[in-house]
């Protein structure tokens, strides 16, 4: 397995589960932005293309003690990817400043090994060619190419928006990076808010905060560092994801990982050794 790559800029999310009402606007915004084809019957959830899915979480208590929470799940953009390491044709890798796991559709052979590897179910396969209702293809965005059948795809943190934000800087003759406050660090010159994913942008509740996890000036940094309510999904697998979740409810945080009965939430007794 390749060594973990560290980048100056690490785009990431902090998703506040105490704010998410599960309305689904983020899912629709994602589909429209990334040119996912609609389907009339979407009830077979294991066959529906969705880069972002809102899961329903329950505290599993009976009425009236029942509580519910909603958890939007984009690609977690792992620093230790279960997926990219197994791809036989280098169709997906995390090899660029920003730490986004790429997905190169023309390279993908559709073996689906990455899907078998991803514990977050963030990867989706094109079981058929995408079909839009007649005329609706006119509303496709120009930024994300349409994928044919037979390739795997996933959330890219709206990578095209990242490129556009960088292009904008270049067009203004500005540098892409600026020096960080700490010695030896650099940050993206993209101002916070100039590069935001479609889901984060659409959410009326502001539940999804997007930014650079390495930049102390960014809200996402402040929310995820030194915050006892922040957790990541399946942290003990060692995937080192770039998507943090926040909840003041312990049962929600405990659902973020597998725990043995006597383990303390967010502090399992045994911690996975770094190398696998």
């Amino acid at each position: 397995m390749s060594a973990k790559k560290e980048f100056n800029v690490k785009w990431g999310m902090a998703i506040d589960l105490d704010k998410c009402t599960g309305c689904g606007a983020c899912m629709v915004a994602c589909q429209a932005e990334n040119n996912l084809a609609p389907v009339a019957d979407a009830s077979n959830k294991l066959r529906v293309m969705n880069w972002l899915v809102v899961f329903e979480l329950s505290n599993n208590k009976e009425f009236p003690d029942h509580e519910v929470a909603y958890l939007p799940r984009p690609c977690q953009q792992c620093a230790e990817q279960p997926c990219a390491t197994v791809c036989p044709v280098v169709a997906t890798e995390r090899n660029e400043e920003g730490g986004i796991v790429s997905q190169i559709y023309p390279r993908c052979i559709g073996c689906r090994y990455c899907m078998a590897a991803c514990p977050y179910h963030a990867r989706y396969f094109n079981w058929f060619d995408p079909v839009w209702p007649k005329g609706m293809e006119k509303a496709l965005t120009p930024d994300v190419s349409v994928r044919p059948r037979g390739v795997v795809e996933k959330c890219t943190f709206c990578h095209h928006r990242y490129m556009m934000a960088k292009d904008k800087l270049r067009a203004q003759g500005k540098n892409i990076f600026v020096k960080g406050e700490k010695r030896g660090t650099k940050h993206s010159a993209i101002a916070e808010g100039d590069y935001v994913t479609s889901c984060a942008e659409a959410c009326p509740n502001g539940a999804i905060v997007f930014g650079d996890l390495n930049n102390p000036a960014h809200r996402v940094y402040q929310l995820t560092h030194d915050n006892p309510n922040a957790f990541r999904l399946l942290e003990r697998l060692g995937t080192d994801t770039a998507v943090y979740y926040i909840s003041s409810r312990e049962w929600v945080r405990r659902l973020g990982d597998n725990y043995l009965k006597d383990e303390i939430t967010q502090k399992p007794e045994k911690i996975l050794p770094k190398k696998h």
């Binding site: 629709v28 009339a40 044919p148 942008e201 659409a202 402040q222 929310l223």
Partner: protein, 689 residues
Amino acid sequence: MVLDRRGFMKFVAGAGLGVMATPIPWKLLDDAAIWTQNWSWIPRNVKGETSYTYAVSKMCPSCVPMKVRMVGGRPVRVLPVDGHPLGGGVSSIAVAEVQMMFSPGRVKRPLYRAADGAFRELSWAEAVTLLQQKLQAAGSSTAFISGDENGSTNDVLSAFARALGAGDIFLMPSEAQCAARAAELMGIPAQLGYDLENSDYVLAIGANLLESWGPVIRNRRIFRDGRPVAGKKELPARLNIAYAGAVQNNTAAVARPWLPVYPGTEGILALGIANMLIAKGCSFDSPDFSEFKLLAAKYNPEVTAKETGVDLKKLEAVVKALMAAKAPLVIVGSEFSQGSGAAPVMAGFALNALLGNINKSGGVCLLPRAEAGIDGASARDEIFKNDLTAWIADRKTPQALVLHEANPAYALPGPQAVAAFLKAVPFKVSFSTYMDETAALCDLVLPIGMGLERIDDVNTPYGCGKTVYCISAVAADPRADVHNTANVILHVAKEMGKDLGFEYYEDLLKTKAVRYEKCDFAVLAAGQAAVSEARVEFSGFTARADVLAKALSPKTRGNKLGLAPYAKLNLGTAKTGIPPYNTKTLRGTELDGKDMYVMMNAKTARKKGLSDGDMVVLDSGKQQIRARLRVFEGVMMDTVAVCLGYGHTALDEFSQNKGANVMELMVAVPEPQTGLNVWSGTGVTVSKA
């Protein structure tokens, strides 16, 4: 030279080897990556210059402002507009509104019903002539139903109705109507508004504040700003929301606490809380305060708990928080945004009066009523006085019926009876974007542009805390042969010799725009909202204990389960059906193929001998619907929760054949004293299918 067999073979072999030595085959092979990506049947992206236009959604009940991204003149995305009083994100309907321009369910050109019962196309000129003839013939026996309560098209319709001498003009039932009726009964000459922006504690009773009540996106923006992300480094929440309702819906998911109550008991809960507040020394100025106090006293904590099923401990905590809050606000509404009548809103107003927040910052505010822009037209509140369900129940069939963006054959209680009523009307015309259930029953269907494709306006949606006026300009070229309803009516009126004073709808909107300070039409059309903080002075009110006493009397549920309908925006509206991009947002626990799920908690299910996944029949006595049962613990005891928005029979494949329409189960009954019909307290039996 003769080419013999051997020579030929050598040539072929040599040529083969030679070609292999060139880059041609290798290049072609390597290009497999490209051509296997670009099959001719896969749609291509079309590049173009990006530009933006602004509009306000006429499709989403939240009236959300939209920034529309255009690429080479084609609209491709709806993005949020920050800094707009109704904005702050995008709703699940509006966010794919561009894509909905291409929904298969659209009416593409005018259609009339031929003698054989099928629709035939006709030209707009023919359609307008036909419309004119029919309306001329019907004269004062023409009725109007509008499904857009915030637009000025209603001015045109009502002015036209007045000119025809017709009085039957209706808006589709809504919370705004209940509130308007409540204000009128209490003697308040204003539109009730809610200053959520400045409140620090909101108790929403039935009002699905974060999903379907009022201008939702604005509500949610306030929630966003008032509730910083939980964590060490952020400030404590500035806004707390408590929610009382029968279903743990989108609002309840983030509310602290959720107070489960029986469906249809919102008003009684409000009286129970009023009693607790009065006991703590709260009061208000009203000629009938003592009667109100007596009435409230009937709902002592024990009675309240019995009638509403509320947990007293939790309720007491909420009341305590209300009293402790700097700017408490109580909002009473309906979990499915309709049919709960005026009394709960009145009880809610009384609660706010007890908390002393009328016309105070963060409280209930009295906004000037929206006025009509045409002489002789009725103001919105005037139209609200007419109750559509009651009128249909009376069966005074008009000669002609004009519908504007209204789908009563789907959205009213008892859709089958409504359809039967519609069938009895000799001529009905529907101005509609989509071929919905009502349009499918009409004699003439006239395509109108979607919000993005037409000019229209939004005038202070119910729920706002201030007067907000927006113009929604044409953001995109229409994808069908459309005309504006108002323009057609203005034209027909003129042809009939009843000039309404405007040639075009746009002219009317221009006269409306100039009423607002510092905002001319061009500024508004460019996406800015006109906002006015003006309020109607609060000079007291009558609590109308007499009305409340009758209208809020406890109902016996008997053996039946309470029906708790609830609304979710991702299922679209009665007008749109389920938007194509939204089918994926429906969970596996909400819809499975053709079967929708209804929900009850495990204890209730056990009582009824039902288990998770059972096919069940819900029976209201008059009508039945079938569904699958989902055992979900976020539902009140003895209650079955059913989501609105399923069971479309018209529109397109994204809406059809999905579940059943819960409106089938509902029966509208008169609310004593208020002149409205209610259908929020329906009871049903649930049994295994």
